[in-house]
């Protein structure tokens, strides 16, 4: 309802403006004539009961509730000058409630098998329930002075529910040897609610090893090394399809009957997939944790390799099927492998001054290993092709352009476009790095900062492509525009291929995500508020971005955060720069 990339958004009105009509859809006064607000309430609570009937036996039960309520309301008062029927007065409401219940119960027996070997056995159950209910309504033609759908001449209402339940049982056994070597083995079984199609119970085994090698007598003494832990683990996990993903469902639609009454009919809703199965993953990881210089430096390093069989994804369906737009499928085998590392260091540490730096980063290589017997590559621009990342970006390449007639304007016949689609790059960043720093200075001053890097991915500048489609972009208006810029516009608009290759750009960026300064205020100031301590913190977010990407921001994803395959901007507001000032009082 509050989507900003439609005709009620500020950016689209600005982006499609022309010299004759600077604001293409609505003028700012009209946009600001709209009342739009969102109220949210959230409650998270949990309780734990423990019982230790014997010194080696304990029971533990935890129950939790996460309640979330959201109310979106949009209102156009009558006659404020917005285009269309909204000018008659329009109100939209969207109310949503979510209750998530969790229950955990476990029994643990801990004892020593020998003087050097400890045992810890746990058996437990877990239960999760999600209840979601939402109602939405709108009303048009609301008389002046009123703001209720209840008095609208024309109304609509809808309702949606989601119910999900998952139950699991697990057994976990851990042995400790001389407090240095820890071996773990476990298995869990999960089942979940499935509407219409029952999926089998799934078993997930795992095993792990953790060894504090530096405490072994044979380990060489290294003066600056405090501790070295080596760890390795293997485990299986899985994901059940949603409760109604596998079945064919019907949508109800209203019709006008021959006697001019409203009747009900049905048509295909979700097309379903009777072959749908749970997704199953197997992962190994190995790594080390080390501490140095009396705790002033630490390193965590992990390598992982995760293979997923039958990964669950939604894929678009050919519209000619006359059915739903997408459906869930299992695709063959997917590999995610890479490194994760974190380094922290305290370079200065005195009573009044300290300076810490932390680096954390990851390198992930995602590859679709196979699609399964007889399955063709899936997707058009965002594709699933064996040997390439899931959801990689593809299109026909702009091989070259040549302003043959020398008039400074690229035309379709001056373009060379590849005959077949080619891989452009992964849709999501493969490399990430965060650098954080904290500086403590005399006088109770602390300055922190966070710098983020994302690299090796393709961002789709669909905003600019679409502006060219509407012929309001510089590339199609200004002959002084660089030829390469013209080439991508002409390729997407005027060339028969309509390839968007030129708007698929490397999205690599550095972003100064946050800088924050905190000052401890004088005790006298705190006392004047009956507080013992007080501080003020000034924070700036999204302060600067360094990138070669030509769009607004390579981090924008108009598809929403739920889209795991592809970053695409489309008239969407980038992360805004903002500043906050916060006072903290301790009583």
């Amino acid at each position: 309802m509050g989507n900003d990339n439609n005709s009620f958004g500020m950016l689209p009105s600005a982006f499609f403006g022309t010299s004759a009509r600077p604001w293409s859809f609505q003028k700012p006064a009209q946009l600001f004539g709209r009342t739009f607000y969102q109220d949210t309430q959230r409650f998270t609570g949990s309780g734990t009961v423990t019982w230790d009937p014997m010194d080696w036996l304990s029971f533990r039960a935890t129950g939790g509730l996460d309640y979330y309520n959201r109310q979106d309301v949009s209102f156009f008062a009558r006659d404020i000058g917005v285009p269309g029927t909204s000018n008659l007065g329009r109100k939209d409401t969207d109310f949503r409630n979510s209750w998530q219940y969790t229950l955990d119960g476990s029994t643990t027996a801990s004892f020593d098998l020998t003087d050097g070997i400890t045992s810890r056995s746990t058996v437990g159950v877990q239960y999760f329930e999600n209840q979601f209910a939402g109602t939405n309504a709108w009303g048009i033609d609301i008389v002046n002075g009123a703001s209720s759908i209840g008095v609208a001449a024309e109304t609509f209402s809808g309702e949606v529910h989601i119910f999900e339940k998952t139950a699991g049982l697990f057994v976990d056994q851990q042995f400790g040897i001389n407090d240095r070597l820890f071996l773990t083995g476990a298995i869990r079984a999960d089942d979940n609610s499935a509407f219409g199609q029952d999926f089998d119970l799934i078993y997930y085994p795992k095993a792990g090893l953790s060894w504090i090698a530096s405490e072994e007598s044979f380990f060489p003494q290294i003066s600056f090394l405090d501790q070295l832990r080596i760890r390795a683990a293997w485990g299986r996990s899985g994901l059940q399809p949603g409760s109604d993903d596998a079945i064919r469902t019907l949508s109800a639609n209203a019709i006008t009957t021959p006697d001019d009454q409203t009747g009900s009919g049905v048509s295909i809703g979700n097309i379903g997939n009777s072959l749908l199965e749970p997704e199953k993953s197997s992962e190994i990881e190995a790594g080390l944790d080390a501490e140095f210089f009396s705790g002033r430096a630490a390193l965590e390093l992990t390598y992982y390799d995760k293979r997923t069989d039958g990964a669950l994804i939604t894929v678009p369906l050919a519209p000619s099927l006359g059915a739903s737009a997408t459906r869930w499928v299992n695709i063959g085998e997917v590999q995610n492998a890479g490194w994760e590392a974190a380094i922290t260091g305290t370079f200065v540490e005195t009573n009044t001054v300290s300076w810490e730096i932390g680096l954390s980063g990851s390198i992930n290589n995602n590859e679709l290993l196979s699609l399964g017997e007889g399955t063709e590559p899936i997707g058009t621009q965002t594709r699933f092709v064996p040997g390439f990342p899931l959801g990689g970006q593809w299109d026909r390449p702009i091989v070259g352009h040549n302003d043959a007639d020398g008039n400074g304007i690229i035309t379709p016949d001056e373009l060379t476009i590849g005959d077949t689609i080619e891989y452009i790059g992964p849709g999501m960043p493969e490399n990430q790095l965060s650098i954080s720093s904290s500086l403590r200075l005399p006088g109770g001053i602390r300055v922190t900062g966070l710098l983020d890097y994302r690299g090796d991915y393709i961002a789709y500048n669909n905003t600019e492509r679409f502006r060219c489609r509407f012929r309001v972009c510089q590339a199609l208006i200004d002959p002084e525009t660089p030829l390469a810029e013209q080439a991508r516009a002409v390729a997407s608009l005027l060339h028969p291929s309509q390839t968007v290759w030129g708007y698929m750009e490397p999205g690599d960026f550095w972003k100064l995500r946050e800088v924050s300064a905190r000052l401890d205020l004088p005790e006298r100031f705190a006392n004047s508020f009956r507080a013992s301590r007080a501080s003020v913190t000034i924070t700036g977010r999204n302060l600067a971005t360094w990138t070669d990407y030509s769009g607004m921001d390579p981090e924008i994803n108009s598809n929403g955060s739920g889209d795991n395959f592809g970053i695409s901007e489309f008239l969407t507001q980038p992360p805004v720069r903002f500043y906050t000032v916060r006072f903290n009082f301790s009583f």
């Binding site: 080696w56 036996l57 159950v125 029952d198 639609n253 006008t256 009919g265 049905v266 048509s267 968007v500």
Partner: protein
């Protein structure tokens, strides 16, 4: 905590107590959920279920034809010369400007909607045949299916795949169908409707007019005239609209023209268009709203043929049957002028004079058709036929030259097949290429 005990007892105790809870429960019962939003085919068995599929298919066809905010009557009229854009959507601008992108989301919606109507009507027909044999709604479903196929042939480029989502079993991907093959599919559906229409004259006449239209598209004017020979002059068949119902039940042309002010009635659009306003013809009544459309700059001209959101939209009629006969009469030397003037006399219009040449007679006939059949998804097919069957250039019949919102008219004479059709597994090897076999008229 770390004390040495008997090694077996604790483990057994712990395991037993931990397992007590889950084994005491019936997990199937524990995990059972009911989703009140879902209707499954299992819920709709028997004759009553078949009737709901029929009703659903009627709704799908209405949406695909001219209900709510779109449909073939609305968008084909925009691509042709009936309407011009007084709204702002870039995707609709592409349609009016005759330069369409196969990634155009608006057109994807129209294309999917028409396929849903095509598949839904076929499935409903087959369910009715199975569960209610002899029911006249079988003929209705095949007729609407025929029109869905026909609209693909008349409004889309050659190459539209006719995939299938059958009542039972998995999906079936279709290969690209040529325009001739799409017409064959329409013809087959109208034949099936005719066979199933015993005792229902409306369905029999609708099948006849549909079949006549198919023959007309093939250039077989004699067969077209023969097909509609038995259709009474005063017969009409309409798709119902309703005010006060849901958005999808409303007359889409009224909705887009009067309510939303995004479609404005054209006059000589692009130089070649029909004089819908200046012709002052009672068959296309109109008025100047005195204001502008949704874009706040394009004058809004209101058609009055559909005077409310509950105005029904004619799908087939005796008037169309006579126009089909007139076209054959021009080709065969028959009394075409008498036929046209007979229609005009029925609404008090003065008689036409013979312009003297066959080319001018065709121009006159198509002008008459444009007015009689205004807003009923005929005009785009007619413009294409003028190019394809009568040798006119597209620049001479479609809107051309400078586009009133900037730029120039393009050269599209039909809708492209959306990019998303590449998901069709029967089209592998076409990646990155248009699905259309050709974009010619």
């Amino acid at each position: 905590m770390k004390t040495t005990h008997n090694k077996v007892l604790p483990v057994v105790l712990a395991a037993g107590m931990g397992l007590l809870g889950p084994v005491a429960c019936d997990t199937d019962q524990l995990l059972e959920v009911v989703d009140p939003d879902l209707v499954t085919p299992e819920n709709l068995q028997g004759a009553k279920g078949a009737e709901l599929y029929w009703a659903g298919a009627v709704g799908l066809f209405g949406s695909a034809f001219s209900s709510g905010g779109g449909g073939q009557a609305v968008y084909s009229g925009m691509l042709a010369d009936e309407f011009h854009l007084s709204g702002t959507f870039p995707t609709r601008n592409q349609v009016d400007r005759r330069e369409m992108d196969d990634r155009n989301g608006t057109l994807l919606g129209q294309y999917r909607s028409l396929h849903r109507a095509r598949v839904g009507t076929k499935n409903a027909a087959q369910r009715l045949e199975e569960l209610l044999p002899g029911d006249s709604r079988i003929a209705e479903m095949w007729n609407l299916n025929g029109y869905a196929n026909l609209f693909f042939a008349e409004h889309y480029c050659s190459g539209v795949p006719f995939s299938d989502t059958p009542n039972e079993g998995d999906i079936v991907y279709g290969k690209q169908a040529t325009t001739a093959e799409m017409l064959d599919a329409a013809s087959g559906s109208f034949d099936a409707a005719a066979s199933a229409s015993a005792g229902d004259a409306d369905q029999a006449h609708l099948a006849a007019v549909g079949l006549g239209r198919v023959h007309q598209n093939r250039g077989d004017y004699a067969a077209a005239a023969a097909a509609v020979a038995g259709v009474p002059d005063d017969w009409t068949y309409s798709i119902r609209s309703k005010a006060g119902g849901t958005f999808g039940q409303r007359n889409a042309i009224f909705e887009m023209n009067h309510t939303q002010r995004r479609w404005s009635l054209s006059d000589r659009e692009g130089g070649n268009g029909v004089t819908f306003r200046s012709g002052a013809d009672s068959r296309v009544p109109w008025k100047d709203s005195g204001g502008t459309g949704f874009d706040e700059e394009t004058p809004l001209y209101l058609q009055l043929k559909y005077g409310s959101s509950e105005a029904d939209v004619v799908l087939g009629s005796g008037i169309e049957a006579r126009l089909i006969r007139a076209e054959h009469e021009i080709a065969s030397g028959g009394p075409w002028l008498k036929t046209l003037n007979g229609l005009r006399a029925g609404v008090g219009l003065p008689a036409l004079a013979d312009p003297g040449t066959e080319s001018a007679r065709i121009d006159l006939l198509f002008d008459e058709r444009a007015r009689w059949l205004f807003g009923t998804a005929h005009r785009l097919g007619d413009l294409r036929r003028l190019v394809r069957q009568y040798g006119r250039s597209q620049e001479a019949v479609f809107p051309a030259g400078d586009f009133f919102k900037g730029g120039a008219y393009g050269s599209d004479v039909n809708f492209p097949i959306p990019f998303e059709e590449h998901e069709n597994e029967a089209l592998s090897g076409l990646e990155g290429r248009p699905v259309c076999l050709n974009r010619a008229a």
